[in-house]
Assembly symmetry: C2
Homo-oligomer: 753 residues x 2
């Protein structure tokens, strides 16, 4: 009876999410791509209605043309990227099969199931990314069209709904696939005592999701920022033409980048977090199943399920209860989504815990041999701590990156003495913005860890992601608005359309920063939970062998552990170096190409250009560069823990994971926030009047701000967010191969130092 309860709830909510996403999508499809106004570049003749009609038609054709160019660019890039990924997944699934089977004394079932869940996780992640891109590209031009209409409600709702399609579809798909995989595995591992193997095989799902996320984030991140930085450098710095000007050959690539990096990459990233957090919680808490049954064991999935319901309910606040009617409403509407879902999650989680968890249940302590007795309220509290901690970190991120507050304004004023002070202030701002989030994270870790041991940490991680659907909605909303603005500019619509999409986008930038805070915080908790699961799994393996590895915890005073602790701390720096350099390199290639086009086609920059730029050449550069450059950092993150485990053993891996976690979280937060702050400082200066202290657009102060914005691009959209995945991927990979590592000299590795 209870069993049916959990499964019914989970599958029903997953279907609900998918259905809800479909409804949102249907609403968007009702918008036809027809410009209600002609482009600004045509002479306006208000008396001649017929001509007006005709021009609107021409503008419509232009809109469709741009939309299709973006669509094709994004489609072809993702196809190329996923081809690489598919090859990697196919090859690596064999590695997973053999290493896991070998590590479990040739238990080929475990090898096969782990490899299968790996492939499934990877496929789901690719599907999520692809879907998100499709929806975003489909909706951006429609947002532009709606922005032509008077009022704010329609255009906001269009972009918001586009986000919701992605948000809910991804959550529904993720939960559905994960849960069906679990049910399928249960056919083989039917007894509660065997669920430990079920959950261990399931970790492949997290690994698959995270691997694709890595390539998606890095590849997409390099793509989008190569285009963006390249376009900025030539377009703005050298020739002084506005962003998204159709005469700039890199604009289409820039807009494609928003969709493949910020939408597809980020979707894969958050899907990975969800999958990993769930896997970690299940591995750590699988013993709950023995005493409390299936429903109690799958409590982590239940939290995500009820989160969907909460997110759907709260989305009505934005679309119906308090619709957006003015520019001032936009940011508060988005923020209200995050706050309301977090608040509503609190009672929901308590009820869910009461219903699905037994009155008291036991888990094994991560250190020592004690059993810890937990209550549903304690478990719920861990989830709530995560959710509230996530919101807090998000709001602090907003404080440091929105130009409504002091830090960004101060940063804007630092541009008065040039680009150098802007850089110094911006980096300092990012570093400073680490303080409170890290203290909050430390508090959440301490609280949840003390309350429910490592199981608590994994629940807190799930709590961070409880309102994932809403978080994703807002995250996708941003690039859709950004693209809508780009299309308006390229189609040369009247400036008020661009102003409107800019306002929508500005709010999206801030909330995207909030979303990044969420993503980084959750990644830190997920990594710690995965590390806990790794320790649990090694302890299981060593207990079976009559050994006592990790019985007293992970000791940093082991020479090998400490040595790898500082090596782990180095990994995020090496990773950031590689990805930033890749962006720089690709951007320089882009600049050369654009420069070449300007040189070859001297009339490209005329007011009414007689020549057309070669957009495809720029798309090709971004595509080639990102595919080429994503391999090295991806390989580093995947193979470092794998080889460390095989050659140096589990103590070394422990040090590596902890070190990487400690350094990644700081670097990820600071890079994301520096980047966000530079972007908004530039926007703040652009809004200033020419005779004001900040002198506004085109001034020397603005030029200094553009340098900061350009440097910030790879910070906030390539390296920073990808660092999330660095820590998670390294941890989940170690978890998947835990038995394998243990099999080498009882965890001593081949070198057995």
């Amino acid at each position: 009876m209870m069993d049916i309860g959990a499964s019914t709830l989970i599958i029903a909510t997953a279907l609900l999410a998918l259905g809800w996403a479909f409804i949102q999508f249907l609403t968007i499809t009702r918008i036809s791509v027809e410009s209600s106004q002609r482009g600004a570049y045509e002479t306006v003749n208000a008396d001649d209605y017929a001509e007006d009609e005709y021009e609107a038609g021409a503008t419509t054709r232009r809109l469709i043309e741009i939309y299709e160019a973006i669509y094709e660019g994004a489609e072809s890039f993702l196809r190329a990227e996923y081809t690489y990924c598919a090859v990697f997944v196919a090859g690596f699934s064999v590695v997973v099969f053999f290493l896991v089977a070998w590590g479990t004394d040739w238990d080929t079932t475990r090898g096969f199931l782990t490899a299968s869940s790996f492939v499934l996780g990877a496929l789901t992640s690719m599907a999520s990314g692809y879907l998100g891109m499709k929806v975003a590209v489909y909706s951006n031009v429609r947002t532009t069209v709606m922005a032509q209409k008077p009022g704010w409600t329609d255009c906001f709702n269009t972009a918001f709904r586009a986000g919701a399609v992605m948000g809910f579809a991804l959550c529904g798909l993720g939960i559905m696939m994960l849960y069906l995989t679990m049910l399928a595995f249960r056919v083989h591992y039917y007894g509660p005592e065997q669920w430990v193997y079920l959950t261990e095989c399931l970790t492949g799902y997290g690994l698959g999701g995270s691997t694709i996320a890595m390539f998606g984030r890095v590849g997409g991140g390099i793509y989008t920022k190569a285009a963006d930085v390249g376009a900025d450098l030539v377009g703005k710095v050298v020739h002084g033409i506005p962003e998204d000007d159709p005469r700039n050959p890199a604009t289409i690539a820039d807009n494609v980048g928003d969709n493949v990096g910020d939408v597809a990459g980020m979707g894969s990233d958050l899907f990975g977090s969800f999958a990993e957090a769930t896997c970690a919680a299940l591995v750590i808490g699988n013993s709950i199943g023995v005493s409390g049954g299936w429903d109690a064991m799958v409590f982590p999935v239940i939290v995500s399920s009820v989160g969907i319901v909460v997110c759907i309910l709260c989305s009505f606040i934005a679309t119906h209860i308090r619709p957006v009617r003015s520019e001032a409403n936009v940011e508060s509407a988005l923020k209200m989504q995050l706050i309301s879902t977090t608040v509503l999650m609190i009672p929901t989680v308590i009820v869910a815990a009461k219903v699905y968890l037994p009155e008291s249940f036991e888990i094994k302590a991560t250190v020592g041999n004690d059993l810890i007795t937990l209550t549903p309220i304690e478990a719920a509290l861990c989830v709530i701590m995560g959710a509230v901690g996530g919101l807090t970190i998000g709001l602090i991120t907003e404080y440091y990156t929105s130009h409504s507050y002091k830090p960004v304004r101060e940063l804007a004023h630092s541009c008065k003495t040039g680009a150098a002070t802007n850089m110094i202030y911006g980096i300092a701002l990012g570093y400073k913005s680490v303080i409170i989030p890290v203290v909050v994270l430390a508090g959440v870790i301490y609280g949840s860890f003390t309350l429910c041991d490592m199981y608590g940490v994994s629940l807190a991680a799930i709590g961070f992601l409880a309102n994932l659907a809403t978080g994703l909605t807002i995250d996708v909303y941003g690039p859709v608005c950004d693209n809508a603005g780009g299309i308006a500019e390229m189609a040369e619509l009247e400036s008020y359309v661009r102003d409107k999409t800019d306002a929508l986008d500005a709010a999206g930038n801030t909330t995207a920063a909030i979303g990044k805070g969420f993503a980084i915080g959750s990644a830190a908790l997920v990594s710690l939970a995965l590390f806990g699961a790794f320790v649990t799994r090694i302890r299981n393996a060593s207990a079976e062998a009559g050994d006592e590895l990790f019985l007293n915890g992970v000791n940093v005073l082991e020479p090998l552990t400490f040595a790898f602790l500082i090596i782990g701390g180095m990994i995020p720096f090496a990773f950031a170096a590689m990805t930033m350099k890749s962006v720089g390199l690709a951007a320089m290639e882009m600049v050369m190409e654009v420069q070449r086009q300007f040189d070859e086609k001297p009339h490209l920059l005329d007011e009414n250009p007689t020549e057309r730029p070669d957009y495809d050449a720029c798309i090709a550069i971004s595509t080639k560069a990102s595919l080429r450059e994503m391999i090295a950092p991806g390989a580093m993150v995947i193979f470092t823990p794998l080889l460390t485990g095989i050659f140096f053993g589990v103590n070394a891996v422990s040090g590596l994971l902890v070190g990487s976690l400690v350094a990644s979280v700081q670097l990820a937060i600071s890079m994301s926030n520096s980047g966000g702050a530079w972007d908004n400082a530039k926007k703040y200066i652009e809004k200033a009047a020419p005779d004001s202290e900040l002198e506004g657009k085109g001034s020397e102060i603005h030029k200094a701000a553009v340098v900061g914005d350009t440097v910030g691009d790879p910070f906030k959209d390539t390296s920073g967010p990808a660092l999330n995945i660095v820590m998670k991927l390294m941890a989940v990979l170690s978890l998947v191969f835990a038995d394998t590592f243990y099999a080498f000299n009882s965890g001593g590795g081949i070198f057995n130092l």
Copy 2:
């Protein structure tokens, strides 16, 4: 007999170092400040010998005038800084006395001796810094004068000898004071069983040295970079006048800064490292005294002593055996110093270990209750690993920061697309440069830790600093040449003088980068050794109380330890943020002041200016800003571990120290190397011909490079090197107060979580 042996050796070498420093100083005093040529700004009339004579006199007067201005600025700043420091030391010594006495059950002797050694360490550090500054200021103008003469030998030797005065005096003074303190303490703690308290009280010496180093590095770092950045921003970016142009009001402050930051600050820093490494080794290894006697226990001091002899011998290579005869000789002469001293240390250390250590001796393991038996060769190997590791890290640093190699050249070429790509490439370069040094460090840690437990790590730290006198010589050599160039420019000597000092300085920049690599690597090892000493001391305290704290090591899976691990990782970021922002702020004040002077005195920038800039106003700004801004970061570093220990206990402190160590080392290396690379990329572009690809001085490419150089200033000379002190100071402070922390609820802290 053996006892006399070690004491005789140590005191004799300390006196030798002081004597050698005095001889070097006497050689410099023989140079009189007389310009052998007249300034370039006077009309040259070669036929009129009398007039030529007269002009040389005028130039001599100008030289003396500048020299005195720098001298007075440096003197008054150090006086102001040390006044602050003295107040802090006086107040904090009372804190040390009470907390240590309270923590040891009102053992007021231990409180008093710890407080005394704290004051002594602080005074020695101030004396070292002051002395270094005096010598540097005294020698800079003399280097300028010698640079007027034909040939390279004299001017190189003058700057090199100035460095040697500081290097040997500091080493001699440090060893002498430390050893006399030990002998004095031995009057009270005369039995070998009591030497544990002797060494514990001695840790105050390290704390005192490090506290002053913190304020010196931060205060001096902000001073020098506020002036440098400020002067650069106005002088170069806005008005396009060359560096050190006498018409720029900030030049004197800039040159003062070199002496108070790069000489005095760095001297205090390295003195701190030496004192702390020795204290850590003595605390960990005090049990050697019980079985092996005093001489065996003071082996760490003996290593430093014989290092002095090695450094003196090798210095003849630079001054006599292979004197510098051309520009190409300069860099290789300096590098040869580092390599030769390291190589010569290897047999010396082996002999010293054989002579002064018993054939086998025992130390307590840091984890568990085992006794580990060690041999002299094993101890010597740890020292050698440190020395060779330091040299390796230094040479890798050179690769990443010298424009003779690919990374900096690539960085220079990235300036072709503007300041933004220069920033992206430069930060990526810094991050990437972390990889090999961290792997080397990890190797040294693993090797020495495995060989001799934590005692090995402390010996490796001492090995890093074994050729400290040479390292300091080279470190001081750089700013002396830099100042010599500044004086040549300000006195408007002929351009070949400036070219010569520039060449001397460029070599100094590279070797300074090597020195920074040494300093950071040694700081990491010192911190780890101090952390080991902290653990040892807590274990002693808990064993006395019949407790078993840290018996199984430091477990990162303790909730509190992990929570503070990530907080510890945040500290260096917060610290870097504060110090960078301070530089930015002070530089902006400087820019405003210089701008104000240019506005008020419009003839300041004429070819033959009729008005004189107000240098003192700029000096006042740097002084005020640095004294104001050094308090907050200094207080953070001092009070974070203190309050953590008192409120949250020793597990929290352990997490904090390890986290801070892991993050500091990465950030320190990357910031120093990014800064060094930007500086040399700019120099590389300046050397390029105007019609070459890099377009040379004054081009847009050069302007982009200047932005990087300016951002790099606080990276490499304020935040980066100060991060060394962050990790060391936090660790030594925890060590001093270990008993106090343990006294709160047996190490649980007041909150006893």
